[in-house]
Amino acid sequence: MNNMNVPLITLRSISKEFPGVCALSDVSLDLYSGEIHCIVGENGAGKSTLMKILSGAYSPTSGQIVLNNEIYDELDPETAQNLGIQIVYQENDLVHSMNAVENIFIGREKTKKLGFVDKKSMYSEAKKIMQEFDIEIDLSVKIENMSVSDQQFVKILKALVNNSRLLILDEPTSMFNIEDSTKVLELVKKIANQGISVVYISHFLQEVLDIADRITVLRDGVVVKTYEEVKNITMGDLTLHMVGRPIDKFYQRDKIKISEEKRLEVCDLKLNKNSPEVNFFVKKGEIVGIYGLVGSGRTEIVRTISGADRFYSGTIKVDGVSVNINSPKDGIAVGIAHITEDRQQLGLNLCHSVLENLLIVKLQQMRKSLLYDYKKQGSRVQSIIDKLKIRTPNLLQKVIYLSGGNQQKVVLGKWLITDAQIYIFDEPTRGIDINAKYEFYEYMTELVKQGKSVIMISSDMPEIISMSDRVLVVRDGSIKDEFTQDEINEQNIVCSALGVAI
């Protein structure tokens, strides 16, 4: 590490608020040239938000970014890039129909006279950087014909040709096998050795301990600790700091007696030919929480149960009888309600009325008649609206005008009307305010009191812990651990999700 005295970039008291949520509060961070600074934290701890502020994709609610003795209240993508801040996003941001070298130089093409692209000099410059950092890929291959790991190298190359001074890598190895990950890690070390500052976000704690010069732990949008030295840290230390929330973060739920009858059984479920088998069950009156990191395969599992996706093999039993679920229609017929992850895309018709949205599932079950007048169905939904306290001026209000919490209530409402027996909630309270959250917890408790069953996927650790009777942890597409009663605590769940020995 050189230039240890003067930070390249300083973040001063950065806060970022989204409607109803505080994603970051008072985060301060120094980044030095030539260091690898790792940032760890659970889902939703604020890592990506922080990076997006640094790269100019978001502007902070308050706080400052200091670079080159200049103080910025916010950055935009262009300014950030001109200042040498390059970010390699997790999601794919390449043009698939173009080859590697063209992707590397998009927006910075080298040209000869008359605007003709100078492929030769782009190749030679890319080759030069590849040699410098010992990267080996075939530059003439189209992105769509490349392996995922080669695509990752293209993205990193794209960042490097633009004279980067700070390189942000967001989960660069999340889709790789060990061999490819090692290559990426070697590359990251070389980049830092060239004096470039690297910010590295990863869920793989071993990886982090291997390459980090310093580590910052985020939790619920706050810096918990920055380790100036990584020599004597263990993965246990890191997870301890990632968890450990104060008691008032947890909701106190009425526990009720769970029946011994199994309502839903999932046996040897394989999503595709090579995926691991999944086995679990849910009893009557039970809330089963499913926790896993983003990309662990939790959503995929429940999507097959409700019929949204097909599966390769296995059986699903409802009340002891094995059922065939090949489409959402089949799932609804056996009483499965799926409150999907993304309410705006998957859960609602945003430009339709509250009434229509509430009745869309029920409609299939009602007596068939040729003509149908929505406006006469008000009485059917009024009780649900009252019960869920959906705040809407009238039944014909378009749901796009409702707040996030009320929209989510409409999604729940449309399933309550169908009188389903099994409720699958995927991230039920994401992006809604604390009061609406607590209301949701009450509805869920109410459902299990009636003897119904609930499966709840959540990245919100306090939510998982306070609501679940049992917690299943998903990693790499299979259920790795099951925790009940006293075992349900942050340390156990996080360690299991990260694959760290407890």
């Binding site: 129909s97 998009i106 692209v117």
Partner: protein, 314 residues
């Protein structure tokens, strides 16, 4: 084996094989089909569509589309014709025609980028506007301009190639070089392939889109001139339907509607295929109504076939 597969996956080669097969089969049945004069006639028949396909492919590759091209072409030709009829010089008339469609293209580009609207619907609307203006000028009648555009047909390069065919081939070459070899073209491909990424890479996405629409507009006037020359007259409605044919030619040629993919040569071969089919069916003496059915069926087959390769890609 793998190489053979890669070749078959290339839309251009697939189309070239189909065209070649048709030429061989139809040529065996009716030798007249492969005579040089008939081949030139095919090229002449597709010259209007060929130029329009170039405009359309640039826009589709950029992630957009322009369904007003047909009416835009007619408007440009109507302007040229009415000026010629008033006894104005050819140079003035052509300049006015080029300006007209260029402004039309710019108009489309500005509306689409400024209001972030869906090009498909917007250009349907602007196409109506262009059509209405043509009707106002032409008044619903045939505009005859005393053979003043005949030179496009009659001048023959090397005694064989009509000027209009040469111009069309020039347009194809120009567009091919523009899209493949220039910074502008590659950026347009990048925008069509992944607009968000192009924006984050510092490309002025809006500006490039506006330029693409304007450029396509300018080129449309060339198609208008060729059309007027071929018909030796023009009506306000002469261009309707051409935009859909151009779209079909693009898709057959592997220029997919989601943008960023496909080649200019492919689009041109797609256009040539429609000409070959139409001419072959005529020569074989297929009944006009049956011809329409067969043409439709071949288009459907070609598009389904090209989609199979993209299904595999996923």
């Amino acid at each position: 084996m793998r190489k053979a597969k890669a070749i078959l996956n290339d839309q251009r080669i697939l189309l070239a094989i189909v065209i070649l097969l048709m030429v061989i089969i139809v040529g065996t049945i009716s030798p007249k089909f492969v005579q040089l004069s008939n081949i030139m006639a095919i090229f002449q028949q597709v010259s209007v569509l060929g130029v329009l396909t170039m405009c359309m492919s640039l826009l589709i590759i950029s992630g957009g589309i322009d369904l007003s091209l047909g009416n835009m072409m007619a408007l440009s030709a109507v302007v040229v014709a009415s000026l010629l009829m008033q006894g104005k010089s050819l140079l003035l008339a052509v300049t006015a025609g080029v300006l007209t469609s260029t402004v039309c293209g710019l108009f489309n580009g500005l509306i689409i980028t400024t209001f972030q609207t869906i090009p498909l619907i917007i250009t349907l609307g602007t196409g109506q506007i262009f059509n209405g203006i043509s009707l106002l000028i032409a008044g619903g009648s045939f505009l005859q301009f005393e053979n003043k555009l005949n030179f496009l047909r009659e001048i023959k390069l090397f005694n064989y190639i009509p000027l209009m065919v040469a111009i069309m081939l020039l347009c194809v070459g120009f567009m091919g070089v523009l899209v493949n070899k220039t910074k502008f073209g590659r950026r347009v491909v990048a925008i069509g392939g992944n607009e968000k990424n192009a924006y984050l890479s510092g490309i002025n996405v809006k500006l490039y889109k506006i330029i693409a629409y304007t450029l396509s507009g300018a080129m449309v006037s060339i198609a208008g001139l060729i059309l007027a020359s071929r018909l030796n007259s023009i009506t306000a409605n002469a261009g309707s339907g051409y935009e859909l044919d151009a779209m079909v030619a693009c898709v057959m040629g592997g220029v997919t509607l989601d943008g960023g993919r496909g080649t200019i040569i492919g689009a041109f071969l797609g256009c040539l295929l429609t000409g070959v089919i139409s001419n072959a069916l005529d020569i074989l003496g297929v009944h006009a109504y049956v011809k329409i059915i067969i043409t439709g069926a071949i288009i459907v087959t070609a598009v389904v076939l090209s989609n199979i390769s993209s299904l595999k890609r996923e």
